[in-house]
């Protein structure tokens, strides 16, 4: 990419980020001000505007921490800590990431398999699809502990239970997207295949799958985000020992908003990177398929 292309590509992102940060700082003032005033009132002093602002940006447990507070926290818990340390966000991030990736792989696999089944077998379509939908309406946080207890009882613990919850959340977008995608070839394209008396499997590989690509990648992006959420949710009932979810919970439990936000932002960065990665693969694939013009 040329440097000009680079600039033109990133200038918008940077601008938007700048706007968001400005809004963020302003909101920090607005949201944290009541507490600052409250404190001041109880202390019997009145705050000037600049005192107020600097107070709202430097509280220990602010309602909304200022960006630099979060940045400092992230810096302190990533760069400044050994990555093997329990206080290192990288260590926690890795724990969550591994469950996310495993869950994503399982979820995508399951999702695609189900979609293939649903598209090819009427029995599957009629009987499984409604239950796949129903499965998603079961609040995962409610059943997660039961799943964990049951898995524990059969001796499965560690990464896998979390990955299962990840999988549970991520397979659904993949099923929905892929069913639609695998059904998107036009009537003529399918007829064409029929005239060659093409076996179903070949129709799948040579027609349905390529036509489903735009749907697949959209689903994968959502699935990836869902799977990260799943990994984090899964960390709560597994004892919330480690991982970004545990950090979030602990932060929440002790009212440490700065810690919550830093875990939150790290999780979001992680997800954004993963989603961007899928976007990249999408570009490359579609390019090679001649579908990008």
């Amino acid at each position: 990419m040329s440097s000009a292309g680079f600039i033109s590509r990133f200038a918008p992102v940077l601008t938007i980020i700048a706007i968001i940060i400005a809004v963020w700082y302003a909101s920090a003032v607005a949201l944290n001000a009541p507490w600052a005033q409250d404190k001041a009132k109880r202390a019997g002093v009145t705050l000037s505007f600049s005192e107020l602002v600097s107070d709202t940006w430097a509280q220990e447990k602010p309602k909304l921490p200022a960006p630099h507070q979060v940045a400092t926290e992230i810096y302190n818990t990533t760069v400044m800590k050994k990555i093997t340390s329990k206080r290192s966000l990288i260590w926690h991030g890795w724990i969550t990431l591994s469950a996310t990736l495993l869950g994503f792989a399982l979820g995508t696999g399951l999702g695609i398999l189900l979609a293939v089944g649903i598209v090819h077998s009427r029995a599957m379509d009629l009987s499984v699809m409604p239950w796949v939908i129903a499965s998603q309406t079961i609040p995962i946080l409610a059943v997660a502990p039961m799943i964990i207890v049951v898995l524990n009882a059969v001796g499965i613990s560690g990464l896998l239970p979390k990955a299962m919850i990840s999988m549970y959340l991520s397979f659904f977008p993949v099923v929905v997207g892929m069913v639609k995608g695998l059904r998107s070839p036009s009537a003529m394209q399918l007829d064409q295949m029929r005239t060659w008396s093409t076996p179903k499997s070949t129709v799948f590989w040579k027609l349905r799958l390529p036509s489903a690509m735009p749907y697949l990648f959209t689903s994968l992006k959502i699935g990836m985000a869902a799977s990260l959420v799943g990994a984090i949710v899964g960390e709560l009932p597994t004892g919330a020992v480690a991982g970004l979810g545990a950090r979030l919970l602990a932060g929440s439990y002790y009212g440490q908003t700065i810690q919550i936000w830093s875990a939150l932002i790290s999780a979001a960065i992680l997800a954004a990177v993963l989603v961007a990665l899928i976007g990249l693969i999408q570009r490359i694939t579609l390019q090679r398929m001649g579908m990008l013009r």
């Binding site: 003529m188 394209q189 064409q192 029929r194 093409t198 390529p210 690509m213 001649g290």
Partner: protein, 261 residues
């Protein structure tokens, strides 16, 4: 049904149910096509030519009557890969290059890699698209896409070739050339060919049998057995015999059009 009968339609009817009432696309069609016949279907737009071709290829199920192909049902014939089909619209897969599109049926039918390449090269040559095999469909002009789709149907050895207005988007010269090529191929391979066209001269030049259809409901108005010899140089088109057949076809068409125009 004689021994050589390849396709036989008996009292065939097909009605489409649409949001505003049924459409009788085919009604009471009776037709016999023999092995090695070159049958052209001609008739006004919307008279059911495409529908009939689709029924023959088991892409559409008739609502009444029956059709047999090689003594089997159309479905069995399709399973035996008896058909090469050129659709009215090119219908190339956008994610495959032209070469890849032509290879597609070959891959499906399990030709060897070498054979595939050899055949792709040969049919591309035939339709004058050599050198375009690595282009994507949207990089080709309309006529070129149409030719690629013809090439795709010719690349493998189907007994029955069904072509739905294959040459509609081509200029006269290319069209003449492909007409000749098609006749040569037909003579060489003894394929049975079903061919939809709007050009009377083309129908007469190519066919051993010309089926004139009339619309709403789609019926067969006339079946004309050609008296032309199988060997047909291009200038046969100036013979009185040729003109006479053409005349008969035109009359049939006029009749079919009826009060419509």
């Amino acid at each position: 049904m004689s021994e050589a009968t390849v396709i036989e339609a008996k009292n065939l009817s097909l009605t489409f149910q649409t949001n505003d009432g049924p459409v009788h696309a085919l009604q009471d069609i009776n037709l016999e096509i023999n092995k090695g016949d070159f049958v052209s279907f001609i008739g006004p737009s919307g008279c059911g030519k495409t529908t009939f071709l689709r029924v023959m290829a088991d892409l559409e199920t008739p609502t009444a009557g029956e059709i047999t192909v090689n003594g089997m049902t159309a479905r069995e014939a399709r399973k035996n890969r008896a058909y090469g089909y050129v659709f009215q619209a090119a219908g190339l897969y956008p994610w495959r290059t032209i070469g890849g599109n032509i290879k597609l049926p070959l891959e499906i039918m399990g030709y060897s890699k070498a054979e595939q390449d050899e055949r792709v090269a040969r049919v591309l040559e035939l339709v004058e698209l050599s050198g375009f095999d690595r282009k994507f469909p949207w990089q080709l002009s309309g006529g070129m896409q149409q030719r690629a789709s013809i090439a795709r149907a010719l690349a493998f050895d189907a007994d029955i070739l069904l072509m739905d207005e294959p040459f509609g988007a081509l200029d006269e010269i290319v069209r003449d050339h492909l007409n000749e090529q098609l006749l040569a191929l037909w003579a060489r391979t003894e394929k049975t060919i079903g061919f939809v066209t709007h050009s009377i001269p083309e129908a007469v030049y190519l066919s051993t049998k010309i089926v004139v259809m009339s619309p709403r409901p789609g019926r067969i108005a006339d079946v004309i057995e050609s008296t032309l010899p199988r060997e047909r140089p291009l200038d046969i088109r100036d013979t009185p015999e040729f003109l006479e057949i053409a005349h008969r076809v035109r009359d049939g068409l006029r009749l079919g059009h009826g009060d419509d125009v």
